[in-house]
Subunit: 661 residues, 2 copies
Amino acid sequence: MTGERAIYLRDIPLDDAWAAFDAALEQAGLDGPFPAEDVPLDAALGRVTAQPVWARVSAPHYHASAMDGYAVRAGDTLGATETQPVTLQEGTPEDRARPAWPVNTGQPLPAWADAVIMIEHVQPLGDGRLAIHAPVAPWQHVRPLGEDMVATELVLPANHALRPVDLGAIAGCGHAAVRVRRRPRVAIQPTGSELVQPGDPLVPGAIIESNGLVLAAQVRAWGGEPIRLPPVPDERAVIRAAVERAAAGADLILINAGSSAGSEDHTAAVVDSLGDLLVHGVAVRPGHPVVLGMLHVQGRRVPAIGVPGYPVSAALTGEIFVKPLLARWLGIVPAPPPTIEGELTRKVLSPAGDDEYLRVAVGQVGERVWVTPLGRGAGVITSLVRADGIVRIPRFSEGHAAGDRVRVLLTRDPGQIARTVSIIGSHDLTLDLLAQFLAERHPAYRLSSAHVGSLGGLLALRRGQAHLAGCHLLDVDSGEYNVTYIRQYLPDAAVRLITLAGRVQGLILPPGNPKGIRGIADLARPDVRYANRQRGAGTRLLLDHLLGQAGLAPDQVRGYEHELITHLAVAAAVQSGQADCGLGVLAAARALELDFLPLAQERYDLALPLEHAAVPQVAAALDLLHDPAFRAAVAALPGYDISQMGEVAAEIRPAGSKPGI
Amino acid sequence: MTGERAIYLRDIPLDDAWAAFDAALEQAGLDGPFPAEDVPLDAALGRVTAQPVWARVSAPHYHASAMDGYAVRAGDTLGATETQPVTLQEGTPEDRARPAWPVNTGQPLPAWADAVIMIEHVQPLGDGRLAIHAPVAPWQHVRPLGEDMVATELVLPANHALRPVDLGAIAGCGHAAVRVRRRPRVAIQPTGSELVQPGDPLVPGAIIESNGLVLAAQVRAWGGEPIRLPPVPDERAVIRAAVERAAAGADLILINAGSSAGSEDHTAAVVDSLGDLLVHGVAVRPGHPVVLGMLHVQGRRVPAIGVPGYPVSAALTGEIFVKPLLARWLGIVPAPPPTIEGELTRKVLSPAGDDEYLRVAVGQVGERVWVTPLGRGAGVITSLVRADGIVRIPRFSEGHAAGDRVRVLLTRDPGQIARTVSIIGSHDLTLDLLAQFLAERHPAYRLSSAHVGSLGGLLALRRGQAHLAGCHLLDVDSGEYNVTYIRQYLPDAAVRLITLAGRVQGLILPPGNPKGIRGIADLARPDVRYANRQRGAGTRLLLDHLLGQAGLAPDQVRGYEHELITHLAVAAAVQSGQADCGLGVLAAARALELDFLPLAQERYDLALPLEHAAVPQVAAALDLLHDPAFRAAVAALPGYDISQMGEVAAEIRPAGSKPGI
């Protein structure tokens, strides 16, 4: 292409971005609901009515018996009493006086009849004669024509998403099909020479094409019809040709990624060359390098959205731009997510110029609801997967202090929050297993664990932010685990200490131990890079203890300040060459097929404030410690000892409390 | 079949019914989650994980640059300052000292590099030399291997319904497919010689097969796979053969209907002959003739549910029995419906022995939420369609008094309740049009109208139960419409009276007027049956006025006590021969192609308490009275006059209030 304009990324506020997009949609006549199509009723679930549904026939379309019994003329039954029954005769008026005609529920009344007598109230006398002992009122036990719907009546309005019962009503008033909005067709064009398909072999730099999958599922969930296109390489002309081709059959095009302003970012230029580049950069976080444009292709206007490549940004761009647009085209207002209010567990600083979508975990302990900010990296899709909701922090707010009440837009059934076991503290692999077994044994319950280290867990218990804390804190003076620390950090609580497992800690090493690390003293070698755990982690305290024993100071350890928050993260750092060793559990080393130098055997306990002992999901989770299948699964983890699993290691009562209280 | 047992219908409590069903499911090994199957990720939306998803590869699976810039060794940048820049050289360590290697976001770092400098912080000096003015820390702007997921880590638990972002996470950690629960296959067998397909021509007695459609859509919405079978006639042997055939390929069979104990009710006997009849009759209302059984077919156990034929009963049987069973087989706990609390607008008597599922409309006026019971007929599917929710009245409760606070299980987005215009009062066809236009022009808003007659509407306004009341109340002394009545019924309110339309009232007659009805005096003829409107209806007051003018008393009119609540219901009664005439609007007569004898021109107004004038959805609805398309639609109704539409007929202030207040 020649005459190409320079493209700059300039973040504008979300409202301004929508205003620019709206104006272009309006100009193109694409700002309102879509045209209609007729679909058969058995394919109409979830579709949106494009016009009102009026009854074509009445329902019932005849006077129907509401009971099994006899159709009669009410006038013929006048005067019947217990002592002076009236006698009716089975048959029609042509051949009988006082006729009675047998009908089952739902059958039509003969033209001459105007009431039904229940079969239980009729006494057969033989010879087709029937005695009745009470008169009936006109229209008794009759469902009159039109009781449910009268022909020409409004049955359903336009812009209504069809539910199962709606389909029954539409069929019941005589329609075989229903006029609904055409589903918006959304073409999804992945771009990037580095893309490979899920499950394909990976070389460094290869990126699994997962955003297309997420965007397609979002489009489907929001009532559109996704068209997933094969990825194209990062070549402007190739992308341009692909987008132009895709635009011909689509109502909206999502181009992913290349929406920023780097040397391989072509989306903005492609949109500019095929129509109007309206917005390049939106002040939202995550997700700011968004492109909004209106293509002019073969005489049609087709809106295009350049979706950022980071998975969290891509998913949020779907939520922020695609979902409202599809709703407008379908003529619906999406149900707002359920919300919950809670207290922030820690401070959140937010960039002043951006609307931030903060992923959070939500925990309920007793009556209090706690909101914990999760990782904010745009590349960490598990932060979105594990999130219980989103806190929107508007631009020009600078964030929130710990303890602030915030409103969470939940991405999970609110009822599930109240049925979740909240474990905060040290990371252990068995917590993943416990979550898995709880989900399988008790589908109503869920276990959420946050990894803030053993001390952090005890502090969370003190603040009432968790049901349980996982900890492995060695008192170097007494050699005892956890008890000393609980007395110190939870002086006013009655706490039961329940052993989860014994486990082996040691140095995780690359396969073959290339640097020949033989013990803790080697951590002082200038050629050895260490991967540490965060402050307050039991494993970090163990390292400090081992360093002290070896007469070493932290500043002699290269990488001491390199903090990671799980055993597996330490193992991954060693596997990838980021570090030469790190202290962690044997199971983490084995999981990534690494070498291991054992240094200590320790006990990992769950601290349970007794006030939470009767919470049903907590009790259910602790019961699993006695479940043979769970015990076997933990025992199968390398270096884990289940001999004390589920035992009460100690009952710790507040100083000064009387026994039994 | 020989040796057939007698089958009796005996209602048992819901809990007992479930207990019997549960025991049989457990014995058949069908009480827990289903086996698993692998599905590709692009077909997995909404499916339920059958086992945990563990990361197969780490994500990222290499150290990735988080920025566009240069990969460097952090150690090489030490000492760089604004005044004393460090010079790096583009290239690799083999050919350069202090190497710097260009990387884009997402690209892998070379093995020797451990940090990235953003391109904005690098000053090219030419000759491949690059000046930097600040040192970088190790791992700055690097997304380390495993930042998102470390191989072997738990990504998702079992029993989790997959959302779009979950699919991204599963793909991102190296899976192309996911192991999910097999979808339960639910065979739906309609029975009934009278069944016809939606849209087919109708003869009296023909019943449109709509329940199969509803049940299939429910099964699909709840995660199962419906198998709709063609209807079979009401012959026991034929039904038995069809059910036996269907059982071979299904996990659950729904037999609809014939679940009661009449002469054409074969479901219980068929279930009994093919296995164990566990329950016949459940004390729920509507829906009591439910059959629960366990078939033994070709060595397999297949649960069967006999679903009652009335459409409301059928849909509720789905909710009460099918939904929980599918959830259990899928290993999920369905999200409970949102609930809202409100005050009952009228008394509800409930049969003491039954669990009742009462359909209700929910309206919010100001801060108060009002719950209005809807029709309780099991045949009226529109009561379920129009319902905003269900109030469960447990057995042994006798019901509720007006004003009682009840909890409603909502079948609608709770937000929609707060955005609904609530009109209570007289029925007019233009209210249907108003609802339709509001839904089209403002998809966020909804209009709900309850038909309780003109006086009932004013009483509802007085109690604060509606935003607007529709009324057409002639003061026979003054000849004025509505004002007198508002002063009488709403003495303390400031009310604006806005004209909706003028309309013609008269006698609705069968085509050709076979009884030769010429005027109101003919209503006294003994051969003329009249269809009346309910007490408090403006049309009934008009009748009384016309009768008085003619010197007639109500008891001279045959059918005076035959009360219907809409003009269309009156027209339907005339069309069907239930009555020979009835007072109503011309448009209702025309809608059903009936004759009409005009008797009066009247004005239909909307009464608006001024306190509701600023409610956004109310203002939006009233604005439509000036919308040319809406006016044209009303003008097209026979007998409607729009010349005063939208005009303020009167502003009525409480007696004693000062002007302007």
